[in-house]
Assembly symmetry: C2
Homo-oligomer: 291 residues x 2
């Protein structure tokens, strides 16, 4: 097989970065934590938050978008924490992760932890609960991802780091600001039909079909549904990166499909994974300092 790292130059096209145009070791060599999430705005606000938490923020500090030459992804950095947006869905996050994994390699980064902080639909949970993913499962509740290579399916494991998930759960308990649980996360290829919503542009099933599918998912340990965790878990595992998925639930899908909560409430929910992961990073950095 071909060694992708044998190339003389490497253009990370969707980041607008490259080995011949940027000094990647100087820019990224100290990265120890990478946080990724769908929304560019949220990843910027995470960087501002973590800078304050770590005491790395000058008054009125501005964090430039490292990928400002492109609108595909946004990237911010403060100290050892890199924050990258990935858009919505498996294909979008997979492009980002290919280029992120190459970036970390070219920059000679070591001992990196990657956490996806996101939003999700809950099953049988009150809105606002934070779910740390135990296993990312597919639409029939199996912990696997089918990747098509040269027209043929290749099945990959979506196993995540169990110790890291427990540590994050403990951070939730330390904080005691909101409820945090551990559970399986179903990863789907779409937001409407793939998640048994009744409010998409088309719907070929009944309210009863929806309920029985979600109840079946709950029985298989699924506590929330999102659209990126499977390929995130699979690619991090293939790259030996310690990885976790931390998503807040915005609604209980057993009770509805539409996001009817106010903007303020939804915004406050979306800050919870940031707060939890911020607490984790601070704890880890303090432990490094002491050792």
């Amino acid at each position: 097989s071909h060694d992708p790292y044998s190339m003389k130059d490497d253009i990370l096209y969707h980041f607008n970065l490259g080995t011949s145009t940027h000094d990647l070791p100087a820019m990224f060599g100290d990265v120890k934590f990478v946080c990724v999430g769908g929304s560019p705005w949220r990843m910027k606000s995470f960087t501002e938050y973590i800078a304050k938490e770590l005491g790395l923020s000058e008054p009125n500090a501005e964090f430039p978008n490292i990928c400002e030459g492109t609108d595909r992804y946004a990237m911010y950095k403060v100290g050892p924490v890199l924050s990258v947006s990935h858009g919505m869905g498996i294909p979008s996050i997979s492009i980002m992760l290919h280029e992120l994994i190459k970036l970390l390699y070219h920059a000679h980064c070591t001992d990196v932890t990657v956490v996806r902080i996101g939003t999700s639909g809950g099953i049988g949970l009150k809105p606002g609960i934070v779910v740390v993913t135990k296993q990312s499962v597919d639409s029939v509740f199996q912990p696997r991802l089918e990747q098509i290579i040269l027209g043929k399916p290749v099945v990959r494991s979506t196993e995540l780091d169990a110790e890291l998930a427990e540590e994050l759960l403990q951070c939730g308990k330390d904080l005691a600001e909101f409820e945090t649980v551990i559970g399986n996360t179903m990863c789907t290829l779409d937001f409407y039909e793939g998640q048994a919503r009744l409010d998409g542009a088309f719907c070929s099933y009944s309210e009863e079909d929806k309920q029985s599918y979600l109840v079946e998912a709950y029985a298989a340990g699924v506590r929330n549904i999102e659209m990126e965790s499977s390929v995130f878990a699979a690619m991090c595992k293939l790259s030996n990166l310690r990885a976790a998925v931390v998503c807040v639930t915005l609604l209980d899908r057993l009770k509805g499909d539409q996001l009817t909560s106010s903007h303020d409430i939804l915004n406050s929910y979306q800050q919870r994974p940031q707060v939890l992961v911020g607490h984790y990073i601070k704890k880890k950095l303090n432990a490094y300092k002491k050792s």
Copy 2:
């Protein structure tokens, strides 16, 4: 089955629009053409271009982002032309299309044509050639999309409007500014392994495997590869929307994987689908006026 249009209120969450908060018929009732593309910047520049072409642009006109309350998608409108970004990959465009189809329904739009204008990797074509899609095919070159509903695969047709494709090809000939061809488009779930690239973070196949896969694709009529056309075709067909896919090729995949052309050259290529579709819209609107 459930009728999604029976809801009293409908929140188009990822557009930050809704039936109870916005007068959708007043805002969108006159829409006749919808152009969609991955990049929000490109969809803004398309709107500026089409405004000038249609003589609808005041000097220094600004086109506000209709979805400015969210960073998921960007949307612009000038006269009968709506321009919407969709991010990268099938899941991302599918969320947008569900909400777009509902928007057009709520706004009582009629006789709407939807065109995806995008970028792609070519097979056996010089970079810069514009491909009008005949059929959108999967990784084994079949014109179908497998949609998972309640954990079970449902196969949908990815047929596009043949007459519209011919009209667009004719527009390319009228313009004579660049080469336009008609051909099959392969739609994949990722940019690296799914498209047989050798420059992703991992690669389990050889250069020879890649070449033989792409040669096989070419023999099946595939002239370019992108990541959104199959679900775009399937959802437009289900909604009885006339639809076409017009993508420029940025490189010839038989000759390489990385995008090494200069930014200026890549930018000029990306304008070609805009110019072609702009010409088509002008021609159609002139024909309406005469009739």
